[in-house]
């Protein structure tokens, strides 16, 4: 059974979002997603300052069997990316919602993404057979 913390928001493409005290958003991939990918061997994160539109691929997570894009849930500007993942991609496997964060971004004004609650996301992965 996947771990789906109730204080986070989710997307249909298996990203999670956490709103930080300064109003920026922290984004990563869910425990369900890391489990489906398997052991991660490489993570490509965006350069700070990059402007993203909603749904744009901003990172690539590569496991021994596949390389997958990760999509930005909202439009905005990247304020930070997780430097530790370059040498420790497995942090996503072991701590998807903590040390495994991918980027932080400042959402564009008026960005109102359609996100899922923890309950809705749990329902989604249950339907997918997760």
């Amino acid at each position: 059974m996947s771990n789906v913390p109730s204080d986070l928001k989710y997307t249909k493409s298996h990203e999670w979002l956490r709103t930080l005290p300064d109003g920026t958003l922290e984004v990563g991939i869910t425990d369900h997603a890391q489990h489906a990918l398997g052991d991660l061997v490489f993570v490509e994160v965006p350069e700070p300052g990059r402007k993203l539109s909603a749904g744009e691929a901003f990172a690539v997570v590569e496991s021994v069997k596949a390389a997958s894009d990760v999509y930005s849930p909202v439009a905005g500007e990247v304020t930070a990316s997780n430097p530790a993942l370059a040498s420790e991609p497995e942090a996503i496997n072991s701590d998807a919602y903590g040390k495994g964060w991918l980027m932080r971004l400042r959402p564009a004004a008026g960005a109102a993404p359609a996100l899922l609650s923890a309950a809705e996301y749990e329902k989604l992965i249950a339907e997918e057979g997760g």
């Binding site: 061997v41 490489f42 490509e44 965006p46 350069e47 590569e62 496991s63 021994v64 069997k65 596949a66 390389a67 894009d69």
Partner: protein, 461 residues
Amino acid sequence: MAFIPHTREDVESMLETIGVGSTEQLFDEIPANLRLGTLAGVPEALSEMEVGRLMAERARLDGRPLCFIGAGAYEHHIPAAVWAIATRGEFYSAYTPYQAEASQGTLQLLYEYQTMMASLTGLEVSNASLYDGASAMGEACLMAVRANRRSRSQRILVPTTVNPLYRRAAAAVAGNQGLVFEEVPFCTEEGCIAPAALARYDGQDITALVIQQPNFFGRLEDVDALCDWARARNVLVIAVVNPTSLALLKPPGEWGSSGASKGADIAVGEGQPLGVPLSSGGPYFGFMTARMEHVRQMPGRIIGRTVDAAGRPGFTLTLQAREQHIRRAKATSNICTNQGLLVTAATVYLSLMGPAGLERVAAASHARTRELAGALTRVPGVRRLFSGPVFHEEVLALDRAVAPVLEKLAACGILGGLDLSEHYPELGHALLVCATETKTTADIERYAGALAECLREARAA
């Protein structure tokens, strides 16, 4: 078993299943003006005996001319052992077998090839080869766009001293993917890029700079200054190099003067000089090496050394997660493959020559070209076009149009070089010539004598 992929009954049954009237109809979506219709000179079907006779007759039409054309493909001596080994049954295959459990010999050979190319170019990682030098340059431009994450412009600076056919191929491979190729003009007195010509790009977002060494004119570029300019401005450096020349010249991995940021990011080139005979443009093979930091953006197959479940060493494909059989449309490349057989020949060639042998080939080619340029410039009406050092090619200026002179030389059994007027009309009557270790002093004298005669006749006429 008959080597017939499908019988007429098979074809009819398949067409009926998908509801199409004829095989031709499957190609309807290709506009008629892009379709060839017929292949002139290619007969419908012949027996093996008839094919053998036809090809022998056609080969005779070529004769055995004395070749002084370089311009991207070079005639070198190929030791007899190279193709005797490359065509052994264990290696001789139309396709490269990749199953690790069945192909350890082939995989080890490719691994050795990668090691040799990395060593020759002074870079850390090599792929298992690409189609040819020209498409390798196109792939390198696409790779640079992926690898240079601090640049968003997709602008690639391509000096016009880069092989014009490579520039055309790169534009065909990458032009429709949003890349912008900007031509950097060369100094017409020197025949190479003036590093100051790059100053106009200072402060602009440039993704990569392509540097060909030796350049299309055979001239040596100031690679250190060019590389320093690029690396100081977050511009990736793509080196296009002749593998033979690397036995004498500084490898791309060491270009530049500043310590830590030294070297090109990607090196590509045409592998043909390494044991592959000239044959109407191919098949040849392209090589590509890079800094390890860019390995995940590198297109094509990469062979790695590993251990099996029992801890025994072995070879296998590695970093496949970005290839098209896994990542489909988002793969690093959907248009590349490797050239297994030609790479086999190149690996055997390099093994037989060794570093000292390759250096002798390079030094002899350089010496022969100096001798050739010396002999030809003693002919009245011929002079050197550019000043400065060359590797094994040189541009000469004639006192009249080059094409008719080359025609007369060809009638004497001499391929006198490449007429540059098509690609570089601004250079006037310019002729690119090349001599490798295969040319003797007698060959060179024969060419000089024939050229003198041709020019004398032309002047008299």
